[in-house]
């Protein structure tokens, strides 16, 4: 990949559009980033994207900022990170500045409200698509440990309301222990 002006322009516009369509914050940015950088541009592989999500989730502050900065750094070092940071914070900044001026009109406008209700259903579909793809991939791997980890972490977060940080820590430590055990048994096949 050549790091010329066109590359930075593409990087900027990609992150900008992802940020501009992230409704509701947090995880919503993940499916959008995955679609853009993994499926569409092929700049990052899927496992790497998942690692970036895991790391962003474990860092303090807005997750979208962490994930964008890491993607930018991965693709083009510090200049790349600077570009993705700027393009992530720009859309909410511009939109909120405008909205805060016309807040009452915005909140009560029927067209805006109707469109937003439609977009809420749209973003639900985008997230569902990513979850179905990811879930199917893990089930097809026939790796029992992965399937159990997926089910258990869903149960822990959704039904028991356990903080995601603990779930991530626990799964990471578990993954580390399993690898260490595997290596000690001499099963170095990977």
């Amino acid at each position: 990949m050549k790091k010329n002006f066109k590359f930075y322009q593409k990087l900027f516009l990609s992150t900008f559009s992802v940020s501009a369509f992230t409704f509701g914050g947090g995880y919503v940015i993940v499916p959008l980033m995955k679609k853009k950088f993994v499926d569409e541009l092929n700049w990052i592989d899927e496992n790497e994207m998942m690692d970036i999500v895991a790391i962003s989730q474990s860092l303090p502050g807005p997750m979208a900022v962490d994930a964008s900065v890491m993607v930018g750094y991965r693709l083009a070092g510090i200049p790349g990170a600077a570009v993705t940071l700027l393009s992530t914070i720009l859309p909410p900044f511009v939109i909120l500045s405008v909205v805060s001026l016309f807040y009452q009109a915005f909140k009560t406008n029927p067209v805006v409200n109707a469109a937003l209700k439609g977009m809420q259903a749209g973003i639900s579909a985008v997230i569902a698509d990513v979850v179905v793809s990811g879930g199917l991939k893990i089930c097809k791997s026939k790796n029992l440990i992965s399937i159990v980890t997926m089910a258990a972490s869903f149960y822990a977060v959704y039904f028991l309301n356990i903080n995601v940080i603990w779930v991530i820590l626990a799964c990471g430590i578990f993954g580390g222990i399993m690898t260490a055990l595997h290596d000690r048994r001499g099963g170095r096949d990977a």
Binding site: Q57, P60, G61, V111, G172
Partner: protein, 188 residues
């Protein structure tokens, strides 16, 4: 100076909020409402509503809103910088080490253990949004399920079918669902 106070407050928001998304709200509330009285609780609720309605990370939305309200556009810029600076530096540091060590077996093992959990975490966040969209509630109850918002159900189903079948880019999906929503809720 209001600028310094804004910067300092949102630096704290950037450092002490874990989990992203709605997890960040209590921290912002504590800084902006309880400690500094920059916003009333009513205004804070409005910020949350706007954040739900507009794109972008909720923390950045709140930073822009509060900063602009208190000290104009410059205030918005300063609050935004405050809440993104700590996490940006941390993310750079972690990214550096991640790319240096990710081929180590142990590091690989740790991340392999994490991947299935990430799918679940996305599912968890997605379900709240899905239920809010289809049943107007974040948690399911028999009463809510028996009266779904059929227009939202149709938009959701069509979008999902397009995404699954043609691996479509989500941005046209978002624009299309917005247009469909405007038509469905206003005209039908």
């Amino acid at each position: 100076m209001i600028y310094w106070e804004l910067l300092w407050s949102f630096l704290q928001v950037g450092i002490f909020s874990f989990g992203g998304g709605y997890g960040i709200l209590p921290v912002i509330q504590q800084q902006v409402v309880a400690q500094n009285h920059w916003l009333t609780m009513k205004e804070f609720t409005d910020v949350v509503t706007i954040s739900q309605m507009t794109p972008g990370p909720i923390a950045l939305n709140a930073a822009t809103f509060v900063g602009t309200k208190l000290a104009g556009p410059a205030g918005g810029v300063i609050a935004t910088i405050g809440c993104s600076l700590p996490t940006t530096l941390l993310a750079l540091l972690v990214a550096h080490y991640y790319y240096k060590y990710r081929d180590m077996r142990l590091v690989k093992g740790i991340f392999e253990g994490l991947r299935p959990a990430i799918v679940s975490l996305i599912a968890t966040a997605g379900l709240s949004i899905l239920f809010l969209s289809l049943f107007n509630t974040e948690t399911l109850s028999p009463a809510a399920v028996s009266s779904p918002d059929w227009k939202a159900v149709v938009i959701f189903a069509v979008c999902l079918a397009i995404l699954r079948k043609w691996k479509s880019n989500p941005i046209p999906i978002m624009i299309g669902s917005g247009v469909a929503g405007a038509v469905a809720y206003l005209l039908l």
